[in-house]
C-alpha cells in the first residue's frame, strides 16, 4: 500500500475520547459500533451495525421511505412514483439525489422530473386515505396514461391502516396497467437499508419475470446496485459496450420498469452495492439460475478486475482478449493523471462516512494518489458489509429486521435454467473464481485507523479534532459543518455537482476533483491580516 503514514494518534484513545462525552448507556451502545484497527492483523474484528440509532445523537441516517422511494425507485423513469402521505416526503425526495436518466427519444416516458403525492390532509388521517389514494391513481392515469404506477407508504399510512396493496390490486384490475405498492413507512427498520430491501422485494414480486424477450447479444449481464449518480451508470454502460458486454438491466440507475421485467434473461449478475441489493442477486440465482459476482467500478484497479471477472465467467477467449485491450487503452490517461496529481496529494489523509458500499469502494481512489484513509464507516450497512459475507450466518436477526419481509423463493418451473452446468461452476470455483464473494470494508483499513458505524455529529467532530484529516467525505448534512473547520468536504452520496466517478474515465474526474479540493488556495485566507497580527503598532504616517 502506498502513501501509508505512521499515525501518532492511537485509535483506542480516540474511541475513549468519543465515548467520554456520552451518557453511560449511550456510550456502551456506541462502543460496539466503533472499532479501532490497532494492528495489521484484522481477523476477528467486529463492527456492530444495522442497529437502532440512539435518539438525540445527531445521526446521518434517514428512513425506510428514503431508501425505497428515493434510492431504489427514484432512478426509474417510466413509472409514476406516487407518494401516499402528507406532502413533505414526496417533496424532499423530488430530484434531490442526482440520479440521471437518458430516455431514448423525446417522446419516451420520463417522469423523473415530476413529484406525485396524495398530499394527505387531517381528514384522511381520521377517516382513512384509501379512497383518496384510489382517486389519485385514477387522476394520474387519466392525465398521464402511464404504463405503471407504484405507491409509497409514508409513516401515517401504516398507522391508520390504509391497505395500499389492496388498492393497488383493485386499480390494476380496473385500469389494466401494472400497479403495486411499497410498505415502506419511515419508521420501519433502523435506516434506509430497510427501504432498499422492501423496494427490491416488491420489484422482484411484481415486475421481474414479466417479459421473456431475450436480447440478441452474446454476453448479457445485469448490473445490480448502481444508481447512476452524476452519470456513473452511463460510463459504465459505455465501457461494457466497448468490451462487447451488454446490460439487460441496471438496478436501478437510468432504468425502466421494462428492463426490470426482462432482467431474468441475463446470464450473470454483477453486484456493485452489496448492501442495497445482494439479496436480489441471491433470489435471481435461486429462481432463474443466474450466478452472481461482486464487482466494483470505482477505481481503475477494481474496474479492471471486475471486467476480467466478467470475461472469465463467460470463458470466451475473444472477450478475454478484448477486455485486456480495453483495460490497456483506458489505463493510459488514468496513469498519466495519477502521476500528475500524486505530486500534490501524496501523504495527505482522508475520511469517509457514507452509504453501504462507497466508504469501501472509494478507498482505492485515494490510495491511487498516495493518500491514506484514517477513518471510515457506513451510514446504513450491515455487519457483512464490514466483515464480509462469511459472517452472515452469525448475524442475529433483531426485532427491527424481523418486520422486514423476506421472500421465500423457489426455482421457477418454466424459467429456471442454470447458466452453467454444475461441473462448469465447480471447475470455475476450484480455479478460484469468486462467486458470491465479498470480504467487506475491514481489509481496506490501515493500522491505526478507526471504523465507525452510523457516525454521529459529536464523533465527526472528535475525529476531525484528533486525526486532523486533509479531506472529509460524507453527505450534504455534514458538508458545511466540516468545511467551517477549513477542511474541504466531498459529498460521496451525490458527488456535490460533480461526477461521473466510475470506471477509468470517472477516476480521472475524481483525481482532478480531489486535487482541486486539496489545493484550492481559498483555504489559506481564513485569517484577516489583523487577526494574524492583532497588535497595534505605528499610527498612520503621512509621506
Amino acid at each position: 500500500m502506498t502513501g501509508e503514514r505512521t499515525h501518532t494518534v492511537n485509535p483506542e484513545d480516540i474511541k475513549k475520547e468519543i465515548l467520554a462525552k456520552y451518557p453511560p448507556k449511550v456510550a456502551r451502545k456506541r462502543a460496539k459500533q466503533i472499532t479501532p484497527v490497532a494492528s495489521d492483523e484484522k481477523d476477528g474484528l467486529q463492527v456492530g451495525a444495522n442497529v437502532r440509532t440512539v435518539p438525540g445523537i445527531i445521526t446521518q441516517r434517514g428512513c425506510c421511505y428514503a431508501g425505497c422511494k428515493g434510492v431504489i425507485m427514484g432512478p426509474t423513469r417510466d413509472i409514476i412514483n406516487l407518494t401516499h402521505g402528507p406532502i413533505g416526503c414526496g417533496f424532499y425526495s423530488w430530484l434531490t439525489r442526482r440520479n440521471q436518466t437518458r430516455p431514448p427519444s423525446d417522446d419516451a416516458d420520463n417522469y423523473i422530473n415530476y413529484c406525485f403525492s396524495t398530499d394527505m390532509k387531517d381528514e384522511d388521517i381520521v377517516f382513512g386515505g384509501e379512497k383518496k389514494l384510489k382517486a389519485a391513481i385514477q387522476e394520474a392515469y387519466d392525465i398521464f396514461k402511464p404504463k405503471a404506477i407504484s405507491i409509497f407508504s409514508t409513516c401515517p399510512v401504516g398507522l391508520i391502516g390504509d391497505d395500499v396493496h389492496a388498492v393497488a390490486r383493485e386499480m390494476k384490475e380496473k385500469l389494466g396497467i401494472n400497479i403495486f405498492g411499497f410498505s415502506c413507512e419511515g419508521y420501519k427498520g433502523v435506516s434506509q437499508s430497510a427501504g432498499h430491501h422492501i423496494a427490491n422485494n416488491t420489484i422482484f414480486k411484481h415486475v421481474v419475470g414479466l417479459n421473456d424477450t431475450v436480447m440478441d447479444a452474446k454476453f448479457k449481464i445485469n448490473l445490480l446496485g448502481e444508481y447512476n449518480i452524476g452519470g456513473d451508470g452511463f460510463i459504465i454502460d459505455e465501457l461494457l459496450n466497448k468490451c462487447g458486454i451488454d446490460l439487460v438491466s441496471t438496478f436501478s440507475g437510468n432504468s425502466t420498469v421494462d428492463q426490470f421485467a426482462n432482467c431474468h434473461t441475463a446470464d450473470l449478475n454483477a453486484v456493485m452495492c452489496h448492501r442495497s441489493i445482494n439479496y436480489v442477486a441471491d433470489m435471481l440465482e435461486t429462481k432463474y439460475g443466474i450466478p452472481w459476482i461482486k464487482v466494483s467500478f470505482t477505481g481503475p484497479t477494481s474496474t479492471a478486475s471486475s471486467l476480467r471477472k466478467i470475461a472469465a465467467y463467460f470463458e470466451d477467449q475473444e472477450l478475454i482478449d478484448r477486455v485486456e485491450e480495453v483495460i490497456a487503452e483506458e489505463m493510459i490517461p488514468v496513469e498519466a493523471k495519477i502521476k500528475e496529481v500524486k505530486k500534490r496529494c501524496e501523504g495527505k489523509t482522508a475520511m469517509m462516512f457514507v452509504g453501504g458500499s462507497r466508504a469501501h469502494h472509494y478507498q482505492e481512489l485515494f490510495r491511487d494518489i498516495g493518500m491514506t484513509v484514517l477513518s471510515a464507516g457506513y451510514e446504513f450497512a450491515h455487519r457483512d458489509d464490514y466483515e464480509g459475507r462469511d459472517v452472515i450466518p452469525d448475524i442475529k436477526v433483531d426485532a427491527d429486521s424481523r418486520n422486514i419481509e423476506e421472500l421465500t423463493i423457489e426455482k421457477d418451473e418454466n424459467l429456471y435454467s442454470p447458466r452453467k452446468t454444475e461441473e462448469q461452476m465447480q471447475a470455475l470455483e476450484e480455479s478460484g473464481y469468486p462467486f458470491k464473494k465479498y470480504d467487506g470494508l475491514i481489509p481496506e483499513m490501515v493500522k491505526g485507523s478507526l471504523i465507525v458505524d452510523d457516525i454521529s455529529h459529536h464523533e465527526t467532530e472528535t475525529l476531525i479534532a484528533m486525526y486532523k484529516p486533509d479531506i472529509f467525505c460524507a453527505g450534504i448534512k455534514e458538508k458545511y459543518a466540516v468545511q467551517k473547520h477549513g477542511i474541504p468536504m466531498k459529498q460521496l452520496h451525490s458527488y456535490d455537482t460533480g461526477g461521473p466517478y466510475a470506471v477509468f474515465e470517472g477516476a480521472v474526474n475524481f483525481f482532478e476533483e480531489i486535487d482541486r479540493m486539496l489545493n484550492a488556495n481559498i483555504w489559506q485566507y481564513l485569517e484577516a491580516p489583523w487577526q494574524k497580527d492583532p497588535e497595534l503598532s505605528a499610527t498612520f504616517v503621512g509621506e
Binding site: 462525552k21 417522446d107 422530473n113 415530476y114 419508521y187 418486520n403 448534512k477
Partner: protein, 458 residues
C-alpha cells in the same frame, strides 16, 4: 423537454398533487428553531424527517444545519414515543449542551397522539432538562397547512412558552419577520435601527444561516434571538407580525396573553409594503422617519420610474408562499407589471382575496389559485405565456421548457447563492430584487434581438 408529460389542457384534479408548491410543517418549525441563540431543533418522529429537513435547509443556505431526531422505530410507533424523546433530551443535553431545545412533532408522533407537553413536563421534573436550560415545543402535524404553518406554530410557541410580563415596559417593539431569509431579518433590524426603534426580532436566523468562514465550527453561532429577549417579549410596547400566514399567530398570542398590542402587516417587499412597515414602526415607537430612509425610498422609486419601458405591461407568473407572493404581487403591480398567473401551495382562503385586492386594476384577467401546485402553474403558462417566472428553484424546469426568463425567489433555492446575503425586504431589498428582474428581462432581450436592433444603450 424536462416536463414532457405536462399537457396544455387543464383537467380538474381533486386529489392528486403534482409538483407541489409547498412542503410540510416540521421544516418550518426547524427553521424557526434555528433562529433562537444556542438552540438545537429536535424532530419528534422518524429519522427521515429530520434528515430530509436538514438536507433541504442545508442545500438552501449552504451552512451547517444542526438538529436531532427521536429516531422512531416500529416499536416506538406502537408504544408511543415518550421513551425516545426522554432519551433524546438526555443525549442532547449531555453531549451537545444547547441552551434550549426546540421540539416539533411530525405526522408520525401526531397520528399516534404523543403528548409532548406532558413528556417535556416530565423531563423538567426529573432533571433530564438541566437547571437553567429550556425546551420549547410545538405541534406540527404534516397533514395540516404547510411549511409556513410549521414556522408560524414554532414562532408562536417560542413566544408564549418563554414570554414573561414583569409589568415594566422594556420600550421595545417585537417584530416577527415571517418565513424570510436571514438577509431580510438583517434588513428589518437595520431599518428599525435607522428609525431609532429598539426591537426584539424573533426568530432571527441571521448570523446562524449566513455565518462566516472562520476555520472553526461553532455549533451555536453568534446570532439568534436570546432567551432573555424572548422572555422580554411580554414587556414590549407592541408587536408587528409580518406576513399573516407566518407571523400573525405569534403576535396575536402575545396580545391575548400578555396584552402586547399587535398589528399584522404584509411582508415589507416592495415600495408600498415597505412604506407601511416603516409607518407602523414609526407610529408604534413614536419616532420620526430620518431622511436616510426617505432617501432610500426615493432611490427605489427613481429606478422603477427610469426603467418603466422594460417593466410596464410585462406578464409575470409567480409561485411561492402566500406572504411572499402577496407582497411580491403588489410590488409588481406597483411597477406596472402584470402578474397574470399566481399560485401558492399553502392553504388559506384569504390568499385569493388579498391577491384580488392588490391586482384590482386588472380585474378578472388574473388567474389566482391557492392551494395549488407548479404543475397547474405550468399549464396556465402554456395557455397564456408570460415574460417572466418568479418561483423557487423547481421553477427552472418550467422556465427552461417554456423558455421564460426566470428569477428565483422563495424556498428552496438549491442552485444559486445570494438569497441569504442580499435582502428582498425594505427599499434596498426592493432595489436588489428589481435589479434581478431587470437583468433577467434584459439579458433575454439581448439574447434574442436581431443584430440590427442589438443595442449598446438600453
Amino acid at each position: 423537454m424536462l416536463l414532457r408529460h405536462t399537457p396544455k389542457e387543464i383537467k380538474e384534479r381533486k386529489v392528486l398533487s403534482v409538483n407541489p408548491a409547498k412542503t410540510c410543517q416540521p421544516i418550518g418549525a426547524m427553521y424557526a428553531g434555528l433562529g433562537i441563540h444556542g438552540c438545537l431543533p429536535h424532530s419528534h418522529g422518524s429519522q427521515g424527517c429530520c434528515a430530509y429537513h436538514r438536507s433541504a435547509l442545508t442545500r438552501h443556505y449552504r451552512e451547517p444545519v444542526m438538529a436531532a431526531t427521536s429516531s422512531f422505530t416500529e416499536g416506538a410507533s406502537v408504544f408511543g414515543g415518550q421513551a425516545n424523546l426522554l432519551q433524546a433530551l438526555l443525549t442532547i443535553f449531555t453531549t451537545y449542551k444547547p441552551d434550549v431545545v426546540a421540539v416539533h412533532t411530525t405526522c408520525l408522533s401526531e397520528t399516534i397522539g404523543d403528548d409532548v407537553n406532558q413528556i417535556v413536563k416530565k423531563a423538567y421534573k426529573d432533571g433530564t432538562i438541566p437547571e437553567g436550560k429550556y425546551v420549547v415545543h410545538t405541534s406540527t402535524p404534516s397533514y395540516v397547512g404547510s411549511h409556513v404553518t410549521g414556522f408560524s406554530n414554532m414562532v408562536k410557541s417560542m413566544a408564549v412558552q418563554l414570554a414573561e410580563k414583569t409589568g415594566k415596559s422594556n420600550g421595545k417593539v417585537n417584530i416577527v419577520p415571517g418565513f424570510v431569509e436571514p438577509s431580510d431579518m438583517v434588513e428589518m433590524k437595520r431599518i428599525a435601527g435607522m428609525l431609532g426603534v429598539e426591537t426584539i426580532l424573533f426568530p432571527d436566523t441571521s448570523g446562524i444561516l449566513n455565518g462566516p468562514m472562520t476555520g472553526k465550527f461553532n455549533m451555536y453561532p453568534k446570532g439568534g434571538v436570546s432567551i432573555e429577549e424572548l422572555k422580554s417579549t411580554g414587556d414590549s410596547i407592541g408587536s408587528i407580525g409580518l406576513g399573516a400566514w407566518a407571523s400573525a399567530d405569534a403576535v396575536r398570542a402575545l396580545d391575548t396573553q400578555f396584552k402586547v398590542p399587535c398589528q399584522v402587516q404584509d411582508l415589507p417587499i416592495g415600495l408600498l409594503a415597505t412604506d407601511r412597515f416603516v409607518d407602523a414602526l414609526r407610529t408604534a415607537a413614536g419616532v420620526s422617519v430620518p431622511d436616510t430612509i426617505t432617501q432610500e425610498r426615493g432611490q427605489l422609486l427613481d429606478v422603477i420610474s427610469d426603467m418603466q419601458p422594460h417593466l410596464y405591461g410585462k406578464k409575470v407568473a409567480i409561485a411561492g408562499d402566500p406572504d411572499q407572493v402577496i407582497a411580491l404581487t403588489e410590488f409588481l403591480v406597483t411597477m406596472g407589471m402584470k402578474p397574470v398567473h399566481i399560485v401558492t401551495g399553502t392553504p388559506g382562503k384569504a390568499f385569493t382575496k388579498r391577491i384580488k385586492e392588490v391586482t384590482a386594476r386588472f380585474g378578472d384577467e388574473i388567474n389566482v389559485k391557492g392551494p395549488s401546485d407548479l404543475f397547474h402553474l405550468h399549464q396556465l403558462i402554456k395557455n397564456e405565456p408570460v415574460d417572466l417566472l418568479i418561483c423557487n428553484t423547481y421553477g427552472k424546469y418550467i422556465a427552461r421548457d417554456e423558455d421564460i426568463p426566470f428569477v428565483r425567489h422563495g424556498f428552496p433555492i438549491l442552485d444559486r447563492v445570494g438569497h441569504s446575503y442580499f435582502p428582498t425586504v425594505g427599499y434596498k431589498g426592493g432595489l436588489h430584487f428589481l435589479e434581478k428582474i431587470l437583468s433577467a428581462l434584459m439579458d433575454r432581450t439581448d439574447r434574442d434581438a436581431p443584430e440590427e436592433s442589438f443595442e449598446l444603450v438600453e
